[in-house]
Symmetry: C2
Subunit: 232 residues, 2 copies
């Protein structure tokens, strides 16, 4: 059955209108007609069975027949990463970690970030598409922080993967399944001041192994490590 | 110091000529001159210190001053994966797993593969570039198999990640650090016959978690799992 993502639908909804884009997709591309059933979800755990009651390609109307709810996984994976200079790289990062089950992505701008701003619309679209592709019922949260200082106002524990010398521990030995963001620096790494700030805020310095990884690869690897810790 | 990859250089080499492309890069782009030192490696563990003795942008000549050798890591990570329909996806797979430390990539064509042939030149270039980027001293091996039958003529143990029902074990409980290729199917998954063939050849059926992963994400995840098992 075809699956549609409608963020504004709630457990009380009786009828819902698809967006213009989704209406076109349903009625033009998929050629769905009055009486056809479709599945809907809102990225917050609610799942719906609906029936098309108006098959207009600009405002397709759905009657809700059934509602179910899937509890959220209590284990969180939160990667805080500096967007790469090349947008492609951070976009595929967002796609892959969404498939793998990340719950929160925070983008921040470090002192050494070459990229100083970001439009999140495309990344949001990629996350939604990857959520549908991988049949996840919850939309990962996406945040943007203008600096690490802003980030630390909200987060007082987690891990930081930096490239400076010094004692580091493994993610496995320190990972917590809640409130444990993992910080991944920009292409030019964190500055020593940023690392100190992280340590002062209670972040554990971690090592991601011996290979030198690109920013987005480091973020992805940290996410898969967290996933394997949770699932083991 | 600038690093150049020259596959044909050996521990006995006294002088070596850079390829036309590398000569241009060294003498035009980097503007290196006679007397400048460069580092060279062959992807087989040999490292060299060299000095430019002719700075011609088409045939730059290097005199070898010093040779060292780095032992190969004895732990193998071998992913056997069906190339994706979209070449971009298998190319970034090759880039990322090279950064992460894969030792062997086998490409095979399954019964359900939409892609029935592949040109490996671009993938080889991407692997070389990722090897340099991540400062690895060994070039991962790249193989192509026309079918799984061909693959099983060479490999009699390993793991297969398929989407059929049935008992599966974790990679962690079965992984071996040598001769243990992990098979990842095409977009349409393996056929039941291919799964049976794998089981008959001694391959363990494994699960990669609950999320539905794209081919290239599954391959990448299997690689990071293997890496984390080796490093823990």
């Amino acid at each position: 059955m075809h699956l549609f993502y409608i963020p504004e639908i709630t457990s009380n909804s009786k009828e819902v209108k698809l967006s213009e884009e989704e209406s076109k997709h349903a009625c033009r591309v998929l050629r769905l007609k009055i009486g056809n059933e479709i599945a809907l979800f809102n990225g917050k755990g609610d799942l719906f069975l609906g029936e098309i009651i108006e098959d207009h390609p600009k405002h397709c109307l759905i009657s809700i027949k059934k509602h179910t709810f899937e509890e959220a996984n209590k284990n969180e994976i939160h990667i805080a990463i500096a967007p790469t200079k090349n947008m492609d790289r951070i976009e595929w990062f967002a796609e892959k970690v969404t498939e793998l089950g990340i719950t929160e992505i925070s983008l921040f701008f470090g002192k050494n970030s070459e990229r100083k701003q970001i439009k999140t619309e495309r990344i949001e679209k990629i996350i939604i598409s990857a959520m549908k592709q991988s049949q996840r019922k919850y939309l990962p949260k996406l945040n943007v922080f203008s600096s690490l200082e802003e980030f630390f106002k909200l987060h007082k524990s987690g891990a930081i993967a930096h490239c400076f010398e010094g004692e580091k521990i493994s993610l496995k030995s320190s990972f917590k399944t809640q409130n444990y963001p993992i910080l991944i620096g920009p292409e030019g790494d964190f500055t020593q001041e940023e690392v100190n700030l992280a340590l002062k805020n209670g972040f554990n310095p971690i090592s991601l192994g011996e290979n030198r990884l690109r920013t987005e690869t480091a973020g992805l690897y940290a996410c898969t490590l967290a996933k394997s810790i949770i699932e083991s």
